[in-house]
């Protein structure tokens, strides 16, 4: 879960890393007050999660509080990448001698976090790594052995930085590594990290991404930051259809029937499980099909849940038919899913044989499931029909169907 800059800076500040005397607000008049308090030129920065805010006009330099207010008003109304800003950050315009970069990310291959440091900051670290690889230092650190200053010292020194800059940077990079671990971040980045005329360092911008699975153990921090429990902060906001999918999944604790993502096609998908859904979605598209949604069922959901999901998909405007398909199941019961999707059709006044383009779920309790499907005249397939072939048949049916 991405944090906004103003939240990320708060995390940085709490970790004991110096930040500027900034203020966050959603009100232009308050922006003027913050600028007044700062008492000098300020930078007004849009608080959005999408990148490219500088180019989009989301960052402006103000000389007076009046200017700060006017810019804040403009920026608050400016959509960037389809997102309305959460607010603006009013930041003192720092006199920076040099910009540095410090970051920590996971290395999934080594299975350890890695500190990344560069004396070239203010631009994407990927770009620096490509153009001046000798200016980018990396160092893994242990998950269980103590984190110590020398590790940060090594990574900074490896980029050629020495003198008092080195000694002042060591605690900053160490604290960044510690906050990364303590807060279950998957990315913690200070860029730029500015060196001021007096030789001190200050974080001028920060990017933080907290692991979703770990949110539960950072409730206090998230509450302090004002992050709502319902905020997903995905690349795009959840649609009402997707939120309804979450509700279906939350109806009881048996199994999963959710992870719904909306698309705009005419073939509704009731598919599973994790890998099966990815495979089936690809297969439907490979055959020229137009999915109305992505979803995942698995872990043996109840009849009510399977029914709820099928109803949701069937009720989506533009959906002509649904395809009910999964890779071979061993935990989820075929008969339960069959009952759920048939119930959904019947309750909505549809003929299951008409609405269900294909049912391809082989595995546990398949004999019982196939019996029920036969009774309702639903076209079904066993494991001798591949996922790909089942998807092809579903697409063929819907394309032959009257509009």
């Amino acid at each position: 879960m991405r944090l906004f800059e103003y939240e990320a800076r708060e995390v940085v500040k709490r970790a004991g890393i110096p930040v500027t005397d900034y203020g966050f607000t959603t009100d232009p008049a308050e922006a003027a007050q913050i600028a007044q308090r700062i008492g000098g030129p300020t930078v007004i920065k849009s608080q959005v999660l999408s990148g490219g805010r500088m180019k989009a006009g989301g960052v402006k330099f103000a000389d007076t509080p009046e200017q700060a207010e006017a810019y804040a008003k403009d920026i608050l109304a400016l959509e960037i990448g389809g997102h309305t800003p959460r607010g603006v950050l009013v930041d003192p315009k720092a006199e920076v001698e040099q910009e540095y970069y410090a970051g920590v990310v996971w290395d999934g291959t080594r299975k350890q976090p890695v500190m990344i440091f560069s004396p070239v900051g203010g631009i994407d670290i990927e770009q620096v790594a490509e153009e001046q690889p000798e200016k980018v230092g990396r160092r893994h650190f242990s998950n269980i052995l103590p984190l110590s200053d020398f590790q940060a010292k090594e990574v900074i020194a490896s980029t050629g930085v020495t003198g008092s800059a080195l000694n002042r940077l060591v605690p900053i990079v160490t604290r960044l590594a510690k906050l990364f671990v303590d807060n279950d971040m998957v990315l913690a980045e200070i860029n730029p990290l500015g060196r001021l005329a007096d030789g001190s360092f200050v974080a001028l911008d920060a990017h933080m991404d907290m692991e979703n699975e770990a949110r539960g153990r950072h409730r206090k921090l998230l509450a302090d930051l004002g992050v709502g429990e319902e905020e997903t902060r995905q690349a795009r906001e959840a649609t009402p259809f997707e939120l309804a999918g979450e509700e279906v999944d939350a109806t009881d604790h048996r199994g999963v029937a959710g992870n719904v993502t909306e698309f705009d096609g005419n073939l509704g998908l009731v598919i599973g499980a994790g890998g099966g859904s990815l495979t089936l979605f690809d297969a439907v598209r490979a055959h020229g099909g137009d999915p109305a949604n992505y979803c995942e069922i698995g872990g043996n959901p109840s009849v009510a849940k399977a029914c709820g999901l099928a109803k949701l998909v069937l009720g989506k405007p533009g959906v002509d038919k649904i395809a009910v398909m999964m890779s071979i199941v061993s935990n989820t019961r075929v008969d339960i899913v069959a009952r759920g999707v048939i119930k959904a059709c019947v309750e909505l006044g549809y003929d299951p044989a008409e609405k269900i383009a294909i049912f391809r779920i082989p595995g546990a309790w398949e004999e019982e499931g196939f019996k029920i499907l036969e009774k309702y005249g639903v076209d079904y397939a066993d494991r001798s029909v591949s996922l790909n072939e089942a998807a092809r048949r579903a697409v063929e049916k819907i394309q032959g169907a009257p509009a």
């Binding site: 996971w106 299975k111 976090p113 998950n143 279950d184 699975e213 995905q234 061993s330």
Partner: protein, 307 residues
């Protein structure tokens, strides 16, 4: 032969009194020659039994009761307690740990893996269904009840490694239907950080005489395929490999995660397209459809050259 486990493997189930774990225990006891499930652990439940398997409060009690070291453990405790359970297993001499639990923060996983490395133990998962040696033994929920597992898995020359539990069974069933059985199938888990990657399991398959070819299931996200590609090139592997890549549509949707926690396209290396190119460079055939896999791997084995 097989990799990781065989008919003599002893293991415990941590969290054995949970609903899912009770089923899993039954399945393992029923499958093949019948797994040697020598104990279960649920704190506070000492003295109970689950399908005849004695329940203990601690792993140490289970080891003491068994009278000699226990080789494996299937861990099915809730995410908040998994790290402690795995540490407990490792510190009591367990060598092979299958973590079934989903939604474990990766910091915990990384800590478990590092301790396992220090102690010479091996972790499979988390978020996986375990390991199966067809007709011999299964360790974990892989394949489901014994009857269903027997339907999908048959003994033979193919090693299967998959980031998706369900797709391990789907692919093995497709191979079995074509007369290509499996030496061992491993569900390695779909998270961003896992105990054993493709490349880390390859040396075991390489050393296994029964194994003549490898089939893998993979997804966008992470660098595991690049790691595999370098491994087979650097080690001049004898084993031909066919890979199936799901989630190709995700390339068009950066920043969105589908399927498993580990699938997200953040950088260029994460995309399905980039991964397919890397695998192909290393001589690994990438199948477009699962039904094509048996013929592809069969031909590669018949040609007698890995690449």
């Amino acid at each position: 032969m097989s990799i990781l486990i065989d008919a003599d493997t002893t293991f415990i189930v941590q969290g054995i009194t949970g609903r899912e774990a009770v089923n899993l225990t039954r399945e393992c006891l029923d499958y093949g020659a019948g797994a040697k499930v020598v104990g279960g652990v649920t704190p506070g439940r000492l003295g109970r039994d689950v399908h005849g398997v004695p329940v203990f409060d601690t792993v140490a009690q289970a080891v003491e009761h068994h009278g000699s070291p226990i080789y494996g453990s299937v861990v099915t405790v809730p995410p908040a307690f998994t790290k402690d359970a795995v540490f407990e297993a490792i510190e009591n001499g367990v060598q092979l740990i299958v973590i079934v639990t989903e939604r474990i923060p990766r910091r915990d996983v990384a800590e478990m893996v590092e301790l396992a490395n220090l102690r010479g133990a091996r972790i499979i998962g988390p978020n996986c269904l375990g390991i199966i040696v067809p007709d011999v033994i299964k360790m974990g929920g892989i394949g489901g009840p014994a009857k269903n597992a027997s339907q999908a898995y048959t003994p033979g020359p193919i090693g299967v490694i998959s980031r998706s539990g369900g797709m391990t069974t789907e692919m093995s069933s497709t191979l079995s239907a074509a007369g290509l059985g499996q030496s061992t199938a491993v569900s390695i888990g779909g998270d961003a950080i896992i105990g054993q990657t493709y490349a880390e399991l390859m040396p075991l398959f390489e050393a296994d005489e029964q194994t003549q070819g490898i089939v893998i299931y993979t997804e966008p996200g992470g660098r595991m395929e690049a790691e595999l590609a370098s491994w087979v090139t650097e080690n001049n592997s004898r084993l031909p490999i066919v890979a199936f890549m799901a989630g190709r549509f995700m390339d068009e949707m950066p920043g969105m995660s589908f399927g498993h926690a580990g699938t997200i396209v953040e950088g260029k290396e994460d995309t399905a397209g980039e991964k397919i190119a890397r695998l192909a460079q290393a001589g690994i055939t990438v199948a477009e459809r699962i039904e094509d896999i048996p013929q592809m791997i069969g031909e590669k084995i018949a040609q007698g050259s890995a690449r």
